[in-house]
Each structure stands twice: as C-alpha cells, then as structure tokens.
Amino acid sequence: MRSAVIAGVYEFPERTTTRSVLEIQALSARAALADAGLAPKDVNGYFTVGTNPGVGPLATVDYLNLHPTYIDGTTIGGSSFVAHVNHAAAAIAEGRCRVALITYGSTARSSGIAVGTRERIAGEYVDQFEGLYGISTVGLYALVAQRHMHVFGTTSAQLAEIAVACRRHAGLNPVALYREPITVDDVVKSPMISSPLHLLDCCVITDGGGAVVVVHPDLARDLRTPPVRLLASAEAIAHTSAGHRDYLVSAAAETGPRAFAEAGVTHDDIDTAMIYDSFTITVLMTLEDLGFCKKGEGGRFVEGGRLQLGGALPINTDGGGLSSNHPGMRGIFLVVEAVKQLRGECGDRQVKDCRVALVHGTGGTLGTRHSGATLILGRA
C-alpha cells in the first residue's frame, strides 16, 4: 500500500460550457479541496498535463496563485491523471509535498475539436512515417479491433455489449451526455466510422474537467470525508517497438500484474472497475490484459451483462467516455468515479458494498504507442 490517500474529488458537471479551460480547473480545484475539507493554502504539490494549456503547470499554477514545492506536468495522453496519482503518492512518501492537487480542464466540444477523427499529427519525428496516411485516433484503435476479430473471432456484437453497459449506467447519472438506453443492435447498425468501429463504439466529445486531492495519511483524520486508500499504482508505455510489436497486447499487461501484486488482492476482490473507454475495443483489450479473463476471451467475457450494475464486474458506472463525457483526456474521471463508489456516494448507480475499485487509464492510441496507468483503491 502507498502511504497516500485520496481525500477529495470533483467532476465539473457541464458537458458544454462557456467557461475557460483555466476557470474549469479553478472551480474543480476549489470543489475538490472543499470535498476534502482543505483550503487552497494547504496545497503544496501540483499536477496537470503539459498541454493544459500552453506549458501546462505554469499557466494553471499562475492562475490559481499556488506556490507548490512539487510540480509535475507528466503528459502521456488520457491516462495522465491516473499516473499523476501514482506520482503524487511517490512525492508524498518522499516528503516532497503533503497535499497534492491534480486538475484537468478542456473545452473540446465548444471549441469544435473532432477528437476522434481529426488528423492525428503532433509535430513529432514519426509524423514523416505515420502522418502521411490519413491517421486519426479512431483509425489507430480500429486497426487493433480488426486484428482482435481476426485472431480471436471477437464480434462487433460483443464490442457493442460494452457500449450498452456504459449507456445503461449513464441513464443513472443525471449529468451524463447521453442517457437514453441503447441495444447491441443500435451499436452495430450505427454508421461505420473506421471499420470495424461504429459511431457508438466511439466515445463522445464534451467539455469538462475535474480535480483530485491526494494527501499524506497523517492528514486523513482531519478530513471531511473518509479517505480512500491507494492500495497500488503502476504505469507503463507500449509502443511500436521498432517495427516488432504484438498490437494485441497493451500496456495493461505490464501494469496489471504489478498493481495486483502490490495491492495483494485478486481479480475477484474488485467490486467495480473504471476502464478507459475511448472506444469499446479499449475496454475489451484492457480487461484481457489486466487478467480479468484470458487473452482472446474478452468477447465472451463482456457478454451477458457482466459489465453492468448487478453483474460480476460493473464498469464505468458514470457512463464512461462512451456515454457520459470525454473532453479528450478523461483519466481523471476514472479516479473521481472510483472514489465516489468507494465512499458510497453514487446514489442510483451505487455498487453494493463497494470495497475495492480498480482504475485503468489508456492514453495515446493502441495502434501505435500508448500509456497505461493502473490504480487499485480501497475503502477506508
């Protein structure tokens, strides 16, 4: 177990907003600190992505008028904020800070950013070899889905089960973007975006943001809410491997075993899992690679409502990126929802007697290079 606890969380509820990226983060930070029973002056560690905006932490620290003794701008895609929890715990254990604030804000929807289908060119060296071919985020996940189907016989209907589960949960979340139930048939008959991924295999595009407060356990007794324990955290990057890659194995295959070993829990102990769902295939691959089922058996594993509330492994109880919100990098919401579940604050979508939750963020694309970050969290 890490010597750090999660003391406060907040998810900015608006899906379309007129507020700025910085203002979203300020409102989220204020609310997460209030949730913890802490004040802005208590913050001495600060974490955000380096693109949020400009040079990242510089802009937000300035706007929030913070004076952190520890600063981290780790930017590894949508999983970044999950990794920030890992880094915050390490910094706290090392005595570099006591109250770590993680923030995120984005106006992807109101800015008209087509997150999934825009040209995925980042100004990197590899652009000259990859950027010539019409790459988009959805296309680079579709390549993995297609191969998964070819090698293991996974079907579009099986992938659709994941979207159906998330939508059902979104129906129980008053602030989710899409709340009307959908069926497997709705998903497989929705327009093809990049084969074999249909429109409803893809996450939504929203504005949004949030904040998480990680603190030293010594502070826990003074908190307003029961602290959530960090039982384990792990991160990894899987990449093109110089042209020798098995794209059916994700970074979760590295982080999962490390996280389970550190936490000393088994898969059966996990009461709910928040699995980054940029696309349905992301969830299927992650569940396999974390070891919830054998590689290749994910299609059968997700059938029969197993991932829905009342099933053996309810995932993404807020509706996930597939139905609730996805402002571009939604890892922070995985942490927020897991913490709320462990505190029993989820109302209609509460997992009964939720004691242990798993969070896994995926950032980048499964079809080229991506990061994976896993947390296992426990009720106090």
């Binding site: 825009r118 019409g134 990049s194 080229t368």
Partner: protein
C-alpha cells in the same frame, strides 16, 4: 497532375536516406551492424542496442497485411475528399511492421494475412510516398 493535398514528410538528416530510397522506388530497412537488429521507422540509433552503426538494406517490398481499417469518416487533409480509404499495418518480408495505406484494391476484398507489395506515388522532385497494393 492534380495538386497533392495530403500531408508531406518533413525529411530530416537522419531519415534522408530512407526518402532517397523511396525516390528510387526502393523501400529501405535499417539494420544494425553491431547487433543485427532490423528496424522501422528509421532513426539515428539502433532501437535494440543504441549503436549508431546502422546500414540501409533494400527490402523486397513484399509484405503481408497485419491489420487494416476502412476509414469512412475523417478530418485528415486530402483523405477526407477520398473516402473511404484504407489505413493498414503491413509486415515486410524483412520482419518489420510498416504503417501505410492499401491502395488499388476494393476494400471489401481485403483480409489480414493477404500478400501485398510496395508501390510509390511520385509526389514532387523530392518525395515519393510508399504505399502497398495487393501482390
């Protein structure tokens, strides 16, 4: 010739031999003289041992499809006017994977494992873009 509206490579000194090879319609693969590893994309060091002692080998240009996706919706420059198009990973006979397009084929006939060969589009005096087509 119609104007080429898709992205063009920003060729750098370490990648120039690769693009010169494409100009000659040869798909070059790097091999490390120190450890023998082959790699793609090309770079200034061996990805296995970080040696700088690399050589450029002409590949056969023959490959098999590792995976593909038929793209029906995109904002990508040039491609959004040519929907649908095929993005793919292919595996060269020399053992390295290459991200590319599959061209000159009916998307409905594509399959993972099918044989393909390299083809080059001469875009301008400096650039020929490698793509793959059914063998």
């Amino acid at each position: 010739m119609a104007e080429y509206t898709k992205p063009l490579p920003e060729i750098t000194p370490e990648s120039r031999p690769f693009w010169q090879g494409c100009k000659r319609h040869q798909f070059l693969v790097q091999r490390c003289r120190a450890c023998g590893a082959r790699q793609h994309y090309p770079r200034g060091v061996c990805a296995s041992c970080w040696s700088q002692d690399l050589e450029w080998l002409p590949s056969s240009g023959r490959a098999t499809v590792y995976s593909f996706t038929v793209t029906h919706r995109t904002q990508a420059r040039g491609f959004r006017d040519e929907l649908p198009y095929v993005l793919a990973w292919v595996e060269l006979e020399e053992g390295v994977q290459v991200l590319t397009n599959l061209v000159g084929c009916d998307p409905a006939t594509l399959a993972i494992g099918m044989p393909v060969r390299v083809t080059f589009e001469d875009v301008n005096a400096d650039v020929s873009i490698p793509r793959f087509t059914p063998a």
